[in-house]
Symmetry: C2
Subunit: 520 residues, 2 copies
């Protein structure tokens, strides 16, 4: 280290002081001082992704499991742009994240060199907080602010842009003043309103919709007590960052993705109490279908949002309705039988439900193929269930990567579509390099299966020849075994359920990554 630490070294030390000690990175020239600082300042685990979507998706998965932010290290505007889709997913899911984006030196911006762009403008749509450090003296303060901001509310996206000279000039003292702001509690009037709704409603006419930390085991148990006491329905938002599921936990149905199914599911609800969830809307618009999937006469009570303490909110509500001593309805062990015969999407899910190891992390970006997953895993071993929260496909493989970094002792099972998997397949290389315990199962249906349904949804009954070519990824077919091995991940494929079970058992028993192409 030089006699006086430079800005990059102070930044790394400040991040570490703020308990940000994992950095997913795809650095370039403007980030070289940060990279050099990794060797002069011990303690930061830096994980290379071969594409920025891997980097930001891994930070998302890490944050969901670690409940604290990772840093990302990205290269100027285009590097940030490549990572934006998964930052969007993280933002929608309430994951905290500290993005460090390298920028040209302050005195070089006028030159409009080829890589120059308006980084702040690119960052803003997907960030809650954006700042450019103006000189190396500001770096400690800016890093503290970024970490504090990321840790605020239920988790936010902070993007700090770092001109190269702020990294190589002498830095200030290491930053202090880290503070995680306390989450709020609902006001009494709304709590009263919710309690009254629960008390007044006929069974099934009042529902509680949960998301965020309300989907952790203890909070779910509290919610179940309330439901058992009042006859209210329990529902989860359609997509959630992390749900604790399995035997001994409360199983909660989600709002279905297809708009007609969502409308049917929510029919008859007169009052909806939101705890961490947003009022349910259609994922897309369709001609003649509504945006809101709630019954038109349903009253919505926003009891607690991402800025509130959701488990505490549930406890307060349980207290109000006298449910604290009621027994929650916990799942009992009901593992599905092992599938046999020709592989189907449901057979894969059945095998997952049967074989899921204790404390597994189940990452789901199987899109259409995964829709029936909850039918097979409610009574499986206790596990965490992570979903795509922002609809931007390409989060699954990176998310599994980041979750495995956060929880090295747990098995990650990553369910992936063949279409969605291709967006960020480079994540497999990081899984190989870091020897992560990730079993990836690719549902090889050779198409954007979901879009075939969507085409109907917008009024086109049958795809013509050109449309078919846009929705199908056959000719040529993807060989995921070759792709995985090409990146150092051992792999196999099968169209037999029996063989799948054999492959899964072996992969679960063995540390390190493995990929199964399930030909369904």
């Amino acid at each position: 280290m030089s006699s006086h630490p430079n800005g990059a070294e102070v930044l790394v030390k400040t991040l570490l002081a703020g308990k940000v000690d994992v950095c997913f990175a795809n650095p370039g020239t403007s980030e070289m001082q940060f990279v050099a600082a990794l060797d002069t300042v011990p303690g930061m685990r830096c994980v290379l992704g071969l594409f920025e979507g891997v980097v930001t998706g891994a930070a998302d998965g890490y944050a969901r499991m670690a409940d604290r932010p990772a840093a990302t290290l990205l290269h100027l505007g285009p590097g940030l742009a490549n990572g934006l889709a998964n930052i969007h997913n993280a933002k929608r899911g309430g994951s905290p994240m500290v993005n460090i984006v390298g920028e040209h030196a302050t005195w070089h911006k006028w030159a409009d060199a080829p890589l120059h762009s308006d980084i702040e403008a690119l960052a803003r749509p997907m960030s809650h907080w954006v700042r450019t450090s103006q000189c190396s003296a500001d770096i400690a303060r800016d890093a503290v602010d970024a970490v504090n901001y990321a840790n605020s509310s239920s988790g936010r996206i902070a993007t700090l842009i770092l001109p190269a000279d702020t990294a190589w000039e002498p830095g200030p003292e290491v930053g202090t003043g880290f503070a995680t702001p306390a989450l709020g509690l609902p006001v009494a009037a709304v709590l009263d309103q919710a309690a009254k709704a629960l008390a007044d409603a006929a069974p099934g006419q009042c529902a509680i919709m949960l998301s965020g930390r309300a989907l952790r085991a203890e909070a779910l148990a509290t919610a179940s007590r309330i439901a058992e006491k009042t006859g209210a329905r329990l529902l989860a938002q359609q997509s959630n960052a992390r749900t604790e599921r399995g035997v001994g936990r409360v199983s909660v149905e989600r709002v279905p993705y297809p708009v007609d199914q969502a409308l049917a599911k929510l029919q008859g609800i007169k009052r909806l109490i939101l705890i961490g969830a947003k009022a349910p809307v259609s994922f897309f618009a369709y001609p003649g279908k509504p945006s809101s999937v709630l019954p038109p006469d349903c009253e919505v009570i926003r009891l607690a949002g991402p800025a509130e303490d959701l488990p505490a909110t549930l406890s307060m509500l349980a207290e109000r309705v006298g449910a604290t001593k009621v027994a929650p309805r916990l799942s009992t062990e009901t593992k599905p039988a092992l599938p046999t015969g020709r592989l189907t999407a449901d057979a894969v899910l059945q095998a997952v439900g049967a074989l899921l190891p204790e404390q597994a992390i189940l990452v789901d970006e199987a899109v259409t193929s995964g829709r029936a997953l909850f039918n097979f895993t409610g009574g499986s071993a206790p596990h965490d269930y992570l979903q795509l929260t922002g609809g931007a496909i390409g989060d699954g493989l990176p998310m599994a990567t980041g979750a495995a970094i956060a929880c090295p002792d747990r098995k990650v099972i990553s369910l992936e579509g063949d279409g969605s998997g291709m967006y960020t397949l480079q994540a497999l290389w990081t899984q190989a390099r870091e020897k992560l315990n990730v079993l990836t199962i690719v549902f090889a249906n050779r198409g954007y299966q979901i879009l075939k349904g969507e085409l109907k949804g917008v009024g086109v009954d049958k795809a013509g020849e050109q449309a078919e070519r846009m929705l199908t990824i056959a000719s040529p077919e993807l060989d995921w075994v070759g792709l995985a091995k090409g990146m150092g991940v051992d792999a196999a494929q099968t169209d037999s359920a029996d063989e799948l079970v054999k492959l899964m058992r072996a992969a679960i028993a063995k540390p390190g990554p493995f990929l199964i192409q399930a030909n369904i």
Copy 2:
């Protein structure tokens, strides 16, 4: 087709009327009407990319070779975000492009559904023109404006955002009013100034720096006439969208990437005349190095920019200095010998120079490995040379894909780094599906070789262990043969120059894609 064409059908017809008849696409639900319209409206060639960076990079490569825009079809904010890096490259290179970005229906935006984001804000930093269609009646006018804007100046980025209901509601008449605005010419005073600079300067003290269409064969010949007459130096900008090179053409040196080499190359220049080029600056900032790489006393004369007709400007200048009858200095055939022995980066370039077929399109994203390319290809068969123009790596494989769509009868040779290639490797699948004549050569040096130099540039003499892990993509090594075959592209690898020559000859002779992993 329904009795009355919907907005999407009118859009496709209007694009076709504007001579935009290739669409690179990665559609989602909000673009399903456009996809359906491909079958009801004949004439649009739609090419699927499995990732949006492939889509936009292919549109860039197409535009460079076709001299007109392709359309892209992208899925909401995250889909656009995934394509932004290569839109940035296209913008920097002056490629025209018409991006169609699907958006939620106008009446669904309030719902803030999971995929919602501020698409206009995301589009603006990388676009010259951004508009959201407000209703289906506007679609024809908006599409005409987008195409006209893309065709203005030397080529611009137009991004049209299309709410789903504007696509499915009944559309207006097909758009008319396509007009390519005439390019400007330099004013007489600046032309006089340039002519005087050329006349007054001692040999080598005045230089003409070219880019854009000034690098096509005829314009280059005119530039050479001026140089032969006046003793001026001819230079090309460091990165250029397309340069016509090879035997019978004028070979022009580029400004080198390394800042010290650039400073040395430009030493002694007292007056610099810019024709389509920008005044040269350092690609990145380095401690103690200048932003401008021109001598401090160099006078810069901006004769013509992207909004001017560059070949006409050169002809006018040639007239002024009495050079119209002077013979240009054209390259004679000087193919390098075939390399033998152990493969090196230069041996690959040597083989390329020797074997380049007539009218090949040479796409260069080989980064460090390709730096000596001009030493080997100046006297090769006539060819087009396409470079990374915006510094955002991941444009090479897509660009080669788009160039091959634009010029199906020409062989594309795509030189790719193993680090940069991984950003958008999905392009290989599109090459396989469309059976494109692309030979990809991956320089497998197992690292971000360029960054090892950059680390030194910012003052770090030796990478420590953690830094080394960020700059190296060994452990595991990438198997590009497996990756290519996994996407349907036949491939081979070698570390022998003789074997490389054999593989290249076979691949050049055979239609369709092939990939060679050159282990250097």
